[in-house]
């Protein structure tokens, strides 16, 4: 008998010890993987809003990749060391698809949190599903008022409500009217015929009455219109002095180029973020868009600590400047990360409590246009504020230049009003 070929007691002991060690190691690492916080993100990644949807995804990737690389969540408790796992689903800007996406995220992917969905029409029903399942849903961009007016406990919105946007737009109209020697009496409203456009138009009509302006044109157009010449010809025949616009990206480009083609220029055009804020807009309109005013959550030329570096790192990776909506995505993600580190848990009620009782300022929040984020009990960020930019030629490129409020105006640039070749 060759004893050395049979397992000796020492070998048996070593094997048993390594087996236990392996089991412990395996279970701890499995435990670490299951501790990862899963966040589902529904966005328009194809279709007419694809370019903004993709930018939202890119901003989230920028933040989370950096966060995970730095070690993930650091807190005193269950989530210490957890990484964030992000799942992205395409909504195609379609509410039915968005709802199905949320259902899939909840039942199959077992997400802890959801963000999205850019299009108000998609966010509105999608948040309903999340609320029924007690999954916190952070809305960075969608502006439809009613999203935070339903008594929901787990919906949180970063952007200002669209009624606030319209109030700020009219404040700016009054400011322009006051500044100019021409008497501004007539307004025109041109908007895309969807939830986004219609909600702005409803508010504008009321505000025009309140501020004493006459509305000589109130024209909507279909989202997928192939030719906007009829709309531009209507503008030409009614000649409203200031025209307010709401568009998605594709039609913003078509409308702007058609206006330039027929030389139809009001004294001022004021748009509402959305399509005109998309980088594809300036890329595809260039000189046609010169002197357009846009209301925005943010701009790359504001004087804020850390802003230049953040924009540089985003631009380096993705090839375009950050815009107001990706900034909202940035803010939304940081409120989530801060809250997760505060609560050290994925419990929805703890999440809600922390979101409502924290004033998010300083650190990553220093780059915002306004000083801090504060959610009220409807989940609405009450501090969301707006600035006005004007598209101007800077060197041989076209850029969004901050022109209002006066203290934030970019050095060396004054508002140009009325537009030089107006009718």
């Amino acid at each position: 008998m060759h004893r050395k070929y049979l397992m000796g007691n020492k070998t048996r002991l070593a094997m048993a010890f390594s087996a236990i060690l392996a089991l412990v190691a395996f279970s701890t690492s499995a435990q670490a993987a299951s501790k990862d916080v899963v966040i589902g993100n529904i966005l328009p990644l194809s279709g007419s809003s694809a370019s903004v949807g993709i930018q939202g995804k890119q901003m989230r990737e920028l933040i989370i990749d950096k966060f995970n690389a730095a070690g993930g969540i650091k807190c005193d408790g269950a989530l210490n060391g957890s990484k964030i796992k992000m799942i992205y689903l395409d909504t195609r800007s379609d509410p039915t698809v968005g709802v199905t996406d949320v259902q899939q995220l909840i039942s199959q992917d077992h997400v802890d949190l959801i963000t999205g969905a850019w299009n108000s029409g998609v966010t509105y029903p999608a948040t309903q599903i999340a609320e029924m399942n007690k999954i916190p849903f952070v809305v960075p961009v969608s502006v439809m008022d009613r999203i935070t007016e339903r008594g929901f406990k787990y919906t949180f919105r970063v952007a200002a409500k669209d009624s606030w946007w319209t109030k700020d737009q009219f404040k700016f109209v009054d400011y322009l009217a006051h500044k100019s020697s021409a008497k501004i009496k007539t307004l025109g409203f041109v908007y895309v015929n969807n939830d986004f456009g219609k909600s702005f138009d409803d508010a504008w009509v009321k505000l025009a009455k309140k501020h004493g302006y006459k509305v000589v044109l109130n024209q909507s157009y279909g989202e997928s219109a192939t030719d906007l010449t009829p709309v531009v010809l209507k503008m030409k025949s009614t000649k409203p002095q200031i025209v307010l616009l709401v568009s998605d990206a594709a039609d913003a480009i078509l409308l702007q180029n058609t206006m330039a083609s027929y030389d139809v220029h009001p004294l001022a055009l004021i748009s509402s973020g959305g399509g005109q804020a998309d980088p594809a807009f300036i890329k595809n309109t260039g000189d046609s868009a010169r002197y357009l005013f846009d209301v925005s959550e943010w701009s790359t030329d504001m004087n804020r600590p850390g802003l230049k570096e953040l924009n540089k790192s985003y631009k380096k990776r993705f090839g375009a400047d950050i815009n107001g909506e990706s900034m909202d995505a940035y803010i939304g993600m940081h409120t989530i990360l801060t809250t997760l580190q505060n609560t050290c848990s994925t419990d929805p009620d703890k999440f809600r409590h922390a979101m409502l009782n924290t004033e998010f300022k300083g650190g990553p929040f220093s780059v915002m246009a306004y000083p801090s984020v504060k959610f009220d009990k409807t989940g609405q960020n009450v501090n969301a504020g707006l600035i006005m930019v004007q598209i101007r030629k800077v060197g041989n490129k076209y850029e969004r230049v901050t022109v209002y409020p006066e203290q934030d105006t970019r050095a060396g640039y004054k508002i140009v009003f009325p537009q030089p070749n107006h009718y």
């Binding site: 007419s48 370019s51 219109a225 192939t226 480009i253 180029n257 027929y262 595809n284």
Partner: protein, 291 residues
């Protein structure tokens, strides 16, 4: 108002051009080509890439776009759709062929999405996009050129079908493909040619549209729906019908919106479409009872 009417005529002729491919394919193959919109998008992209890579005048891109889209259509018919015709020899209008075109639509759309990405692109043609004025009316040169191309293409096609040898063979096949093959005509080759021609016209439409429109992977979808309305209105299988149908749509859109909100003009178009379906289902130029 005059400018609105002019715009209606110009846009209408261009809409008609986009619809000719659809009506032609129905007239000859007796199937609805659901991939029509996708082929339009291919025409737009082909023009875009030609202009981007060569910097040439967009209308010059026709040298590349026409053969490219023709052969794409030809081989799609040959490899994907003809097998359905061969297996359903005795059916006049094989359903399977129509379903295959729907599959091709999705395939082309998603292939474009994967290859080119979802963003929309435009080409800049400063000399063609600014409106020029004559007799007090305004129109961009790009639309005027589009109008003339539509007229020339439909005229050329009409002449080709009526007088050329292949054109006569195509018409024979559309009337009765069994009888035509008894006369020595290879019906499947005719189908390839017809589908290729339909696709090439979509390609030309893309070149006409791009200077004042934009392109992205789903760009053909809205025009696809409009095209169905136009061909039913004008009569399935009738080329003058497609042009006239397009003109009607263009005029309603352009002139109608001077009186009612632009959104309502779409309603008017669909209501009128329903009325035509009830009153004269074969369309304006269609032959009564033909099916």
């Amino acid at each position: 108002m005059g400018t609105a009417i002019l715009n209606g005529i110009l846009m209408g002729s261009i809409y008609g051009l986009t619809a000719i491919g659809l009506t032609l394919i129905y007239g000859i193959l007796r199937i609805i080509n659901f991939a029509q919109g996708a082929q339009l998008m291919l025409g737009l992209f082909a023009t875009y890439w030609f202009v981007e890579l060569t910097g040439a005048n967009p209308y010059l891109s026709l040298i590349f776009v026409v053969p490219f889209t023709y052969y794409t259509g030809y081989y799609i018919e040959k490899f994907f759709i003809n097998p359905a015709f061969k297996s359903e020899k005795d059916t006049r209008e094989p359903m399977s062929a129509m379903i295959i075109t729907a599959g091709i639509w999705y395939m082309i759309d998603n292939l474009a999405l994967m290859l080119f990405g979802a963003e929309y692109r435009t080409i800049s043609v400063p000399n063609f996009s600014h409106a020029i004025s004559f007799f007090g009316l305004y129109a961009p040169l790009s639309k005027i050129i589009g109008f003339f191309i539509s007229i020339i293409v439909s005229g050329a096609l009409f002449w080709f079908l009526k007088y050329s040898k292949i054109g006569k063979a195509i018409r024979a096949t559309s009337q009765d493909r069994e009888a035509a093959s008894l006369m020595g005509i290879n019906q499947y080759k005719i189908f390839n040619v017809a589908f290729g021609i339909g696709a090439a016209i979509c390609g030309i439409s893309g070149t006409v549209l791009l200077p004042f429109y934009y392109v992205y992977p789903n760009a053909g979808a809205h025009l696809n729906i409009l095209d169905f309305v136009i061909v039913i209105l004008g009569g399935l299988g009738s080329i003058p019908g497609a042009l006239v149908g397009g003109l009607i749509i263009g005029l309603i859109e352009s002139v109608g919106s001077q009186f009612v909100s632009y959104g309502w003009t779409t309603e008017i178009i669909y209501v009128m479409f329903l009325i035509v379906l009830f009153v004269r289902p074969e369309g304006l130029f269609g032959v009564k009872g033909q099916h």
